[in-house]
């Protein structure tokens, strides 16, 4: 699965798994891949995101806001649950628990390879993974970005721009 991945994009995937576990996800979602890129990439993908105001910290906050909104839609206040449980409350999965890729995360990685080929690149970097994530049109990552005012088109344009400028 990771043939041609650069060290950088592998690190992003590792960071994504750590984020997924920290957030209590039963599987690695495409939003976790996004968080992994934000945490570990200092190339085109990370730069494009941060230039549009999407930092790791801001995306984590937005991710929690999405959870909170989902619970609010069924009348539950995440903030109250957390407050009542006290300071030991932690969404993190127990150590050692292994989680699979979600189908959308898998899809993003398959698409990443396609993006790499169509761009004529030999190595699969974080920017290809990010483009793969954006191909999940209605996935959690794209919706998280939309909540932060960033559309796939805008992000793609920014990445291509940075690429052209030899970043």
């Amino acid at each position: 699965m990771f043939a041609r991945f650069t060290d950088g994009s592998r690190e992003c995937v590792e960071a994504a798994f750590e984020e997924a576990r920290r957030l209590g996800h039963d599987s690695l979602g495409d939003e976790d891949l996004l968080l992994g890129i934000l945490r570990a990439d200092d190339g085109i993908a990370g730069d494009a995101l941060s230039s549009l105001g999407v930092t790791f910290e801001a995306a984590c906050e937005e991710s929690e806001a999405m959870l909170s909104d989902a619970l609010a839609s069924i009348g539950i206040s995440f903030e109250e649950v957390r407050r009542e449980a006290g300071e030991v409350f932690d969404m993190r999965l127990p150590a050692g628990r292994r989680i699979p890729y979600s189908s959308l995360a898998k899809n993003a990685l398959v698409r990443a390879r396609r993006e790499m080929r169509s761009m004529g690149d030999n190595h699969l970097g974080a920017e290809h993974v990010l483009l793969g994530i954006l191909d999940n049109e209605d996935g959690p990552a794209v919706r998280l970005l939309a909540r932060m005012g960033v559309s796939p088109g805008k992000l793609e344009d920014r990445m291509l721009e940075l690429r052209r400028n030899g970043r």
């Binding site: 619970l71 839609s73 995440f78 409350f89």
Partner: protein, 85 residues
């Protein structure tokens, strides 16, 4: 007869919102259970008593929580598992 009421989560147009609420609730429930078991442990409750209130077997609660909680409180004496049952 009362008007038929249906619980609508996220509206009929958007089943995804309803399904996502389930996922969010499940994640939160797991974290809440872990926190409350830890709170009970800190309060000195035995695994047997915690299991009784949760309505599950002592083995189940021990298997799910003991490793994590005992790792967090290495100074505590390990809670005895009782006589095997």
């Amino acid at each position: 007869m009362d008007e038929k009421t249906r619980t609508r989560v996220g509206g009929a147009d958007d089943p995804r919102e309803g399904l996502e609420a389930v996922v969010a609730l499940r994640r939160t429930l797991e974290a809440l259970e872990a926190a409350q078991v830890e709170n009970a442990f800190i309060a000195g409750w035995t695994w047997a008593r915690i299991a009784e209130v949760l309505g599950v077997s002592k083995q189940a609660v021990h298997k799910k929580h003991a490793k994590r909680i005992q790792a967090r409180y290495p100074g505590e004496p390990p809670v005895k598992g009782g006589r095997g049952q």
